[in-house]
Symmetry: C5
Subunit: 329 residues, 5 copies
Amino acid sequence: MIFLPVGDSRETEQTIRDDCHLLQEFIVFAVLYTAISVVYRLLLTGAQKRYFEKLSIYCDRYAEQIPVTFVLGFYVTLVVNRWWNQFVNLPWPDRLMFLISSSVHGSDQHGRLLRRTLMRYVNLTSLLIFRSVSTAVYKRFPTMDHVVEAGFMTTDERKLFDHLKSPHLKYWVPFIWFGNLATKARNEGRIRDSVDLQSLMTEMNRYRSWCSLLFGYDWVGIPLVYTQVVTLAVYTFFFACLIGRQFLDPSKGYAGHDLDLYIPIFTLLQFFFYAGWLKVAEQLINPFGEDDDDFETNWCIDRNLQVSLLAVDEMHMSLPKMKKDIYWD
Amino acid sequence: MIFLPVGDSRETEQTIRDDCHLLQEFIVFAVLYTAISVVYRLLLTGAQKRYFEKLSIYCDRYAEQIPVTFVLGFYVTLVVNRWWNQFVNLPWPDRLMFLISSSVHGSDQHGRLLRRTLMRYVNLTSLLIFRSVSTAVYKRFPTMDHVVEAGFMTTDERKLFDHLKSPHLKYWVPFIWFGNLATKARNEGRIRDSVDLQSLMTEMNRYRSWCSLLFGYDWVGIPLVYTQVVTLAVYTFFFACLIGRQFLDPSKGYAGHDLDLYIPIFTLLQFFFYAGWLKVAEQLINPFGEDDDDFETNWCIDRNLQVSLLAVDEMHMSLPKMKKDIYWD
Amino acid sequence: MIFLPVGDSRETEQTIRDDCHLLQEFIVFAVLYTAISVVYRLLLTGAQKRYFEKLSIYCDRYAEQIPVTFVLGFYVTLVVNRWWNQFVNLPWPDRLMFLISSSVHGSDQHGRLLRRTLMRYVNLTSLLIFRSVSTAVYKRFPTMDHVVEAGFMTTDERKLFDHLKSPHLKYWVPFIWFGNLATKARNEGRIRDSVDLQSLMTEMNRYRSWCSLLFGYDWVGIPLVYTQVVTLAVYTFFFACLIGRQFLDPSKGYAGHDLDLYIPIFTLLQFFFYAGWLKVAEQLINPFGEDDDDFETNWCIDRNLQVSLLAVDEMHMSLPKMKKDIYWD
Amino acid sequence: MIFLPVGDSRETEQTIRDDCHLLQEFIVFAVLYTAISVVYRLLLTGAQKRYFEKLSIYCDRYAEQIPVTFVLGFYVTLVVNRWWNQFVNLPWPDRLMFLISSSVHGSDQHGRLLRRTLMRYVNLTSLLIFRSVSTAVYKRFPTMDHVVEAGFMTTDERKLFDHLKSPHLKYWVPFIWFGNLATKARNEGRIRDSVDLQSLMTEMNRYRSWCSLLFGYDWVGIPLVYTQVVTLAVYTFFFACLIGRQFLDPSKGYAGHDLDLYIPIFTLLQFFFYAGWLKVAEQLINPFGEDDDDFETNWCIDRNLQVSLLAVDEMHMSLPKMKKDIYWD
Amino acid sequence: MIFLPVGDSRETEQTIRDDCHLLQEFIVFAVLYTAISVVYRLLLTGAQKRYFEKLSIYCDRYAEQIPVTFVLGFYVTLVVNRWWNQFVNLPWPDRLMFLISSSVHGSDQHGRLLRRTLMRYVNLTSLLIFRSVSTAVYKRFPTMDHVVEAGFMTTDERKLFDHLKSPHLKYWVPFIWFGNLATKARNEGRIRDSVDLQSLMTEMNRYRSWCSLLFGYDWVGIPLVYTQVVTLAVYTFFFACLIGRQFLDPSKGYAGHDLDLYIPIFTLLQFFFYAGWLKVAEQLINPFGEDDDDFETNWCIDRNLQVSLLAVDEMHMSLPKMKKDIYWD
């Protein structure tokens, strides 16, 4: 995505999709506008035309009073901030794999098992949260069986997990296992002392806080009324424009209607403008969906498991031979 | 709420309630508007009509001058930020139960008692704060007797608590007990060393800071004048609209009054729009009430106690058997 | 203030005071408006009336150009943020008393003296800052003698404090004493090890940072020009309204002057609206004054001393007997 | 750049370039405006002129409705915040070189090698990220061979790096090496204890978080639709101005067209104004390009390597002789 | 500045200076306005007057379109935030002197020398940064000789400093010395253990981060184009007002020109208003200059050196005799 031009193509693709969506709405708008225009020009009788002209002027007057820009400005700022905070709080296990690789000792099988299991608990914690938060992840792991099959959980763990009686969600369970296992490793001398242990614990707590913040963002969204109010304002504006921005018969001498251009270029641009801005908000308000432009959580899950097992197992204490660098003396 | 469609139904329900509330206000507005309209059209004499028409134009002119959008924009931004900060600072004992489960050793009865008591003090600290902050919680625990009955406090603790002479609130008392008990556990060797102990202490201090921040949000709210100013602006606007947005007799030729539509569609939409926005603020300004859309603090209290006792007692040092994961080699 | 309805009454009281203040200004505005109205209607000759009418239209036109809403919006947002940050950074000794109570050992007289003295230094540090920051506190403690009398300082400490030669403020002195005393306690074994000691030190440094942030807010305020600019804008607007919002003789046919209502209802509401908003800012810009609605710093000082001495002395290692809670098994 | 007036000259240079860019666009705008003006004045027939005049008035009316200021205001605020956060999160190795120099002991060759290698891994971590993020750095280091040649990596390290099989980016590898090497140093006694080690680890984790935040800013940009919407709004406005702000024949008596100044001074100023503001955003939206005004990442990379090797090797334990300062007693 | 009314007098003085500056600009504006007015009224012939009147109306129309308020609002918010962040990040050595006084032991000459030297390095670090950032400090210390003379550096240190070959700035050198010296003190047993040492190191790193943040604010300012755009907007507005707000001959019947007041009271107020707001920004954009209202960095430097040496030397382990406080029992 980064070293290759792939990144660009992905971005282009996304832009195309968004533009497609916008284009659909735009076509609907243009067709409706044209239909009304045709009816006005060709079908209405004289008196009906006069009535329509008054209606058009009335709509235009109110269209200008709707504070679309301002409302969109405040709303989009709120949505963009939430979206960015969610991105920044995606849980990455890199800090933990760094500490586990260097603080949990032993290259024998037990040591490897310890580090891999700790790392698996970390990944399992975030997977359980992601299942709640992201539709894409939920579709991939609809039941705990899928979680076990994918290798995030062993069957023994599954049994213990199911065995726990609680009316509440149990996504915190692997997190406690992590603490117990780390403590056990310390008692066995695999983790040298309390300083190393607490360093791991602190980091795990930080990881869990990221997870629970994501959960919080999902649980308590922007108040629905706010979104409704903004959408209502924008669509009311478009509706008012459909009638109010018609070119009226210049010969009737209505103020600001001296010209019949047939194509309402500025109104169409304004449509693109406001609909595009609203699209920004819609696209960002739930970044954990299945759209192309949402966060690729399933990719994250795979990357995190693969990379973190690699880091704590194969790379544990593997070091290139130290050599003098080229600036030595 | 998450794995089940329950979450959706709750959200729908809330939306319905809000819409109900909005609907009531909307009906009042529509009825008043209709009443004025009927009086103007049917009851007034010619001269009275002329006077009313002037009044209407006067009101309309000033309605447009009221900067409702702007004021609501700034105000709602402030309210939404406060509300979100309160949500983010709800005290969750998960970080502490993680540390207590792994740092306070001993599977014997004394060890279990230690961990459970520490955990209870944590929950008691937040319960005392919640009683001050949330009406729903206060109703459930109107006296300290209810706190004792619900198992958050023993009778011995109650006595010691009552025995303390202080003219000030005493919600910090279980917090000090926590410190004393942890220190005692360290002296007995149940907590291994100062590093483990200070890790617990730091976490408890963080927990308490969340509590006191909630208390602070409750204690010092948005200045009342601010809220009054905003509400005044919005309702003045609606009042001005009731008269100023009447359809005047088109035959009199008042500017912008060429058309009599009977139903003031844009004014009604504007009402929905501004009243809805104000509703967002009203709903969020005190999130600790008893409404359906407030934070479910009573549920939190139950969840926290249940889950945290489970984590530090039944789950203490319980670990699934370590097995090689499916990616091993 | 919280468990009792007192809180409510306090809030009501404050609102009443604010409203009083607003009311006074409102009455001045209304009287001036009426006076001008009377002069215009009764005292002026025909030519003078014509001149006044032109003046009124001129004023009205410019009144609308003054961007009061916008300026107030930006300014009030700034002021509210500063005010809230000051509230959030009020120094509370709870975190420190928690650590001192559990980390400084010994129930004998020397141990008690140690803990009480440490705690006193903490309170003294914030008292010295509060004296600089808050007029209310400064009035209560105009000289160091008052500080000594109130028991925050002993006479020996006073001597040492005065003895230190420095051209700069010396509020940091008790803070250094705290460090020295804690180190001494560590050397005597009253604080067990460096981990406990550094935990105390870190917390004390945090406490001092709160203090110095308050000091900073006091030292460097919102640039005076900013406040002046906003006030100027608002009062210019009111002044322009006094003349520009007069009802002119409808028979003269000035645009927008078809109606003589005598009472300029919308202008009066606008006055309430803008003056109220400005009041929000004025009330919050210096929250350490002596008004009812300012932070009750003197109350804080008393509460903090009383509660913190209680926590580190009487409550030191006092623990209720541990009993099984009602959910045991 | 700082002690010398060079800084000023650089700033002047940048301003000149920006002004150049602006100037080009300005000339295009002015030429188009003049062309249209000439066509209108000299080439059009009477009827065509009348039509153009109506078109001009139409365009002018809509130009005023485009909320350019507002949209630019919100957008530029967002862009400036992102840009500043990227600057603040540039990874500087100063904190790490400070700790490595003082915590990794031994002035012999092995000790020097240890410190230099650790420091090199730190620099390598950020270099790999910079290659992904900054075009300028990518051009300088198009392949890993260039990284090896520049002395950031030895050939042995290169081999091990290439040997690792992973479908994902491997910029975290030197970061794991750092952890392993630091642990090895601790086992050998070169790092004294866990406290020193964890201090290093924490700092390295902080460094990596800066790196990954930069990566995140690059990976997930401001939604493209947002940028398009803003640019569309501004250029639509300019387009409407080209026609709408023409001076029409004063003899025709169009409202607001009493004067023919030939040069539309205010429109030109408005162009400078809006185009300049948009330029601010364009200049800041990707601060890791190759423009003069972007962050000088290549300079950073060189400075960081040079300074950090100096600090941990030549300066290790080198201390000036302690002498009494001039204020002694 | 705080216990004395001095603070008030300083604030008054600053206000006076600002007002002076504003006054100058105001007088220039008023004189120009008067000159144009006189020319229009007395010197122009009839046809010229007609032409000027059209010009004036033209200017007035565009003056109203310039969104001065909005642009100033966004800009001033940005500037105020930067300015406040710079104030908050001024480096104060209080946290470090607190730790050094209590963690670096020994009342003998070597101990004193150690603490004083450490403290001097802290102050030297910030001094080197301040020299880059603040013109006032740079004037006071134009060369390193002045730094040595003022006692921040010894001649030995100067030599070692100069001896270091680096093409980059060397302000980080005393910071490395600090680390080396602290490590040496630990090896000698003057600092007891790694916990105490790392506590010092962390604090020193925090201090340096403050310094480098200040440096960053100086290095990368608000994009110049932004400032230019805002200034251009404001001065264009004033220029348009000079012509557009002239009182035109009422007898000509131009709309809104029924009255000749000679003194354009609202325009003058608007001038004060906008120029004042711009002044806020200009005053805050570089707070490290030599103006009266800039941060008094030279005072800070003196205060910090004096106070910190006092705290770590004279006050080291000096404690008032512990006595029972007046609330004992």
